[in-house]
């Protein structure tokens, strides 16, 4: 993370630590222990939206067996879950509920955007009722492409997430610094959602060829 470890003392690299562990000495930091425990028991939310949900379920079954990575405990309630796998197309009608569920999850919480639809709208991007990516409203940690991604890919995205968790620093962890992250729930209007995106989380990419508005509409 951004803030380096400024505390005095030994900062061990992984090889030295492994050597010491072999010798029966465990030297550790609270950060390391904390992240190790967190990364090994990420509880996902039972949250199926569309096609990708079936592959998410398949990753939990015996052939792929997500419990090898400590994440087999799918919780139906957001209050007990750590990880939200947004598995499928988020429609505009569904988007407020997704944000609301995210708000209800306790810290620390992570989000995997699974499948092309959750990342950007995917094949349905041009639809009038399809949200063009869930990252417009909530922060996403891992993007998992595919339509739908294979169960192996779900496991790999979980591995990436665990790697990310291992680099977390307690001091800058939002769970301790800001408390539970909550984002405003978008509201329905006559044609679209209001606001169309949450500027705190997401900004549209800058267009190098942008024309002024008057020219474009003329």
């Amino acid at each position: 993370m951004t803030t380096p470890n400024t505390s005095p003392g030994i900062d061990l690299d992984d090889t030295t630590r492994a050597e010491l562990e072999r010798a029966g000495v465990i030297v550790s930091k609270v950060d390391y222990l904390y992240n190790w425990a967190r990364g090994g028991s990420v509880w996902p939310l039972t949250f199926g939206l569309a096609c990708c949900a079936i592959e998410m379920i398949a990753s939990a079954t015996s052939r792929f067996d997500i419990s090898r990575f400590g994440s087999e405990v799918f919780r139906p309630t957001p209050r007990q879950a750590d990880l939200m796998i947004v598995s499928g197309t988020v429609t505009k009608k569904m988007a407020p509920q997704v944000v609301r569920i995210y708000n209800q999850m306790p810290e620390p919480k992570w989000v995997i955007a699974m499948g092309a639809c959750a990342i950007s709208g995917g094949p349905f991007k041009q639809g009038y009722n399809v949200l063009k990516g869930i990252d417009r409203y909530i922060p996403v940690d891992v993007y998992l492409p595919g339509c739908p991604p294979r169960p192996e890919a779900v496991l790999q995205s979980l591995n990436y997430l665990q790697e990310k968790i291992r680099t977390q620093d307690i001091k800058s962890d939002p769970a301790f610094t800001v408390g539970r992250r909550q984002y405003p729930v978008p509201e329905f209007t006559g044609t679209d959602l209001e606001p169309p995106y949450n500027p705190e989380v997401w900004q549209p990419p800058a267009n190098p060829n942008a024309q002024p508005l008057e020219e474009a509409t003329a």
């Binding site: 991007k125 041009q126 009038y128 044609t191 990419p205 267009n207 942008a210 508005l213 474009a216």
Partner: protein, 179 residues
Amino acid sequence: MLQQFPEAEWDEAAGAIIAPLGQALAVAEWLLGQGVDYCSNVTGVDYLEREVKEKVTGEDGKMETVTRTIPSRMDVVYHLYSMQKQTGPLVLKQRTNREQPQVQSLTPVWRSCELQEREVYDLFGVDFTGHPDQRRILMWDEFEGHPMRKDYTEPFDYEWEPTPHNEILDKHHRGKVIV
């Protein structure tokens, strides 16, 4: 059938019966009595006003191109089958205008029309008289407009993005620009 209802038209190109205005319910009840007990599919079709160019042979034997205007209309199409006799399909259409479309609901005859007519109301804006529960079904309640109509303009929610999706870029150039 055409004897029973002399005003009903047979549309050869579509292979469909067009129910006379305001008599669709009577036609449906008569069909049900004839054993057509299963209504499979209900949908709307929106036809915009359009011009077609036709080649007509004039009186002097020369080919002429004539432009003809086909007025706009709205169709509600029913695909009917008979489960007793295992026959079908029979295509029944109700034809109405586009501006204030209103047709008779056939839900009292075939229950399967209930959700599908609600869908046609939602996406096409056709008013079904006699429908027990006519509300929006797929879009949210506050939604304005009927998105499956041909002249529906979608909300502009694209932004520029570095992709080779030509259509999206076109849309971006045509519409507003979010920098």
